[in-house]
């Protein structure tokens, strides 16, 4: 009997991560587009770091920082009762940071491509920045939002290094599909490895295909 737990856990993690990312990436992207501050390049570099940094580096520092033997980890544990090492919550925090550029960058370029006069017109009419963001800006970058959501979701599914470092390999808790595959191969259980691999292959392909179909206008009749 094949174990579905790793797959379910993977999609749970991807879903929670994507929802959190959507909420934090919109203000970050909007800030990056609007700001004239000198620290903008620094923030941009930090946001994009996960694109190039080996996931193990990120995982290693998370492990150190969140460890209950460390002051920050101990503080979290003591005051908030959160243990981020070898837990699902830890995976979520790490995934959010690891997939951040995949959400921020499409939204940022979408917002940057909108003419500045759109928001200025709304301000002159007396509309607040929040109203303008939700009623004018975001509805006009649906494609970018969809791209960001899907890339962040798919990228979280594909995570391995960070999850292994900070999550360990606890069945039903932190053992996601990508780790289960590694595990099964190590145990020479190729059939199970193939099952997980094929499922991930098919699902990620379908997700990305859908995005390209929608953003390429092939499904316009259904999308509108």
């Amino acid at each position: 009997m094949l174990d579905w737990d790793p797959l379910i856990l993977t999609f749970e993690l991807a879903l929670v991560t994507t929802v959190i990312l959507l909420f934090i990436s919109i203000p970050i992207a909007q800030w990056l587009v609007k700001t004239k501050s000198g620290i903008k390049p620094v923030i941009e570099a930090l946001v994009s770091m996960p694109l190039v940094l080996p996931p193990t580096v990120l995982g290693f520092y998370f492990l150190i920082a969140f460890s209950p033997s460390n002051s920050f980890g101990a503080w979290l544990n003591e005051w908030l009762g959160i243990k981020l090492v070898f837990s699902f919550e830890g995976l979520v925090v790490a995934s959010v940071i690891y997939s951040l550029p995949f959400m921020v960058q499409p939204i940022q370029s979408g917002l940057a491509a909108l003419p500045a006069t759109l928001s200025e017109a709304a301000y002159v009419m007396g509309k607040s920045k929040i109203t303008t963001l939700f009623r004018v800006l975001l509805p006009n970058i649906k494609k970018s939002l969809l791209t960001g959501i899907v890339l962040a979701f798919a990228h979280t599914i594909g995570e391995f290094g960070v999850v292994l470092m900070i999550g360990g390999n606890i069945p039903g808790k932190t053992k996601v599909a990508s780790i289960a595959i590694y595990d099964e191969v190590e145990a020479l259980n190729y059939e199970a490895a193939n099952f997980y691999s094929l499922t991930l292959f098919a699902i990620t392909f379908i997700i990305l295909l859908t995005v390209y179909l929608i953003n390429g206008g092939y499904l316009k009749r259904f999308w509108k």
Partner: protein, 291 residues
């Protein structure tokens, strides 16, 4: 009354520009800012709307201070009551024409204004269309209507008609004139079209290098020679050709070409592209009905 008095250093492509403006505008007046590109006309409108802050100065509208560098007062664009017609129209593509107008309603404002504007600016047939499917002139009409929904006291028009052809221009000039009167607005227009300026504005402010060069009625500004002509038009010199001993100057007046005979002394200070007045004194013009 609007009292503008401000200074701002602008970084332009051709180098820095010191924009220094002192100007009073009466309630109900329609004034035009006139001058070459890059003299700070658009910046003046943006500063008045609160989309740009001057380095120092004071902006007072009626009895309300909108900006004062001494007291650090700077009202946000949301707090100022201004209608702004952008050069690129800035219509929201995610809303229909009617939704664009409705979005501009203030909280609790009665919707009657929407129908009134749709009627005055004749948008009835367009109200359920997506703005992206409209022509330039139609977009401009929608933008004009939308700028007036929240009943601003001041209407700012940034070269609203520059991209439109002659007939649509004529029609929109009429709309602008109508709404200016109908909604008792104080209007500031940026325009390069002398015919349009003469037709619409009470006063012309000529800007040069960020300063006000002169201001007066359009007649005085553009027809400085004060001809006592029976009829006169302004146009642009398109060509100057020599024919035997005289010169033929071709002048574009609106969309028609007029050939005028001139002698050599008259053409010496004329070059192609000059704005000129074509006037006649001694002859009585004849009118033919054509439509």
């Amino acid at each position: 009354m609007i009292t503008l008095q401000f200074y701002k250093k602008l970084a332009a492509a051709a180098g820095d520009l010191d924009l220094e403006i002192a100007l009073n505008i009466q309630k109900g007046e329609l004034i035009t800012l006139y001058g070459p590109s890059g003299v700070g006309k658009t910046s003046c409108l943006r500063i008045l709307a609160g989309l740009m802050s001057p380095d120092r100065g004071r902006i007072k509208v009626d009895d309300t201070i909108w900006f004062d560098s001494d007291t650090k007062k700077n009202s946000s664009p949301q707090e100022r009551s201004v209608g702004f017609l952008f050069q690129d129209y800035a219509l929201f593509p995610n809303m229909t024409v009617r939704e664009n107008l409705e979005f501009a309603l203030k909280k609790g404002q009665h919707k009657g204004i929407i129908n009134e504007l749709i009627e005055v600016i004749e948008l009835g047939d367009l109200q359920h269309r997506n703005p992206m499917t409209l022509s330039g002139g139609q977009k401009q009409r929608v933008a004009l209507a939308r700028a007036l929904v929240h009943k601003p006291k001041i209407l700012l028009l940034d070269e609203p008609l520059a991209a439109l052809d002659y007939h649509i221009r004529q029609k929109l000039q009429t709309y602008i004139h109508e709404v200016h009167k109908e909604f008792s607005l104080t209007t500031i227009l940026i325009s390069h079209d002398i015919g349009e300026i003469v037709k619409l504005s009470d006063r012309v402010i000529v800007l040069e290098d960020g300063k006000i060069l002169k201001q007066d009625t359009p007649q005085v500004i553009f027809m400085s020679k004060q001809l006592s002509g029976k009829f006169q038009f302004t146009g642009e010199v398109i060509a100057i050709e020599q024919e035997e001993v005289v010169y033929i100057v071709t002048v574009l007046i609106h969309n028609s070409l007029i050939k005028v005979v001139a002698d050599s002394s008259e053409v010496t200070d004329l070059t192609i592209g000059d704005k000129v007045v074509v006037a006649s004194k001694a002859f009585n013009p004849i009118l033919y009905k054509i439509e």
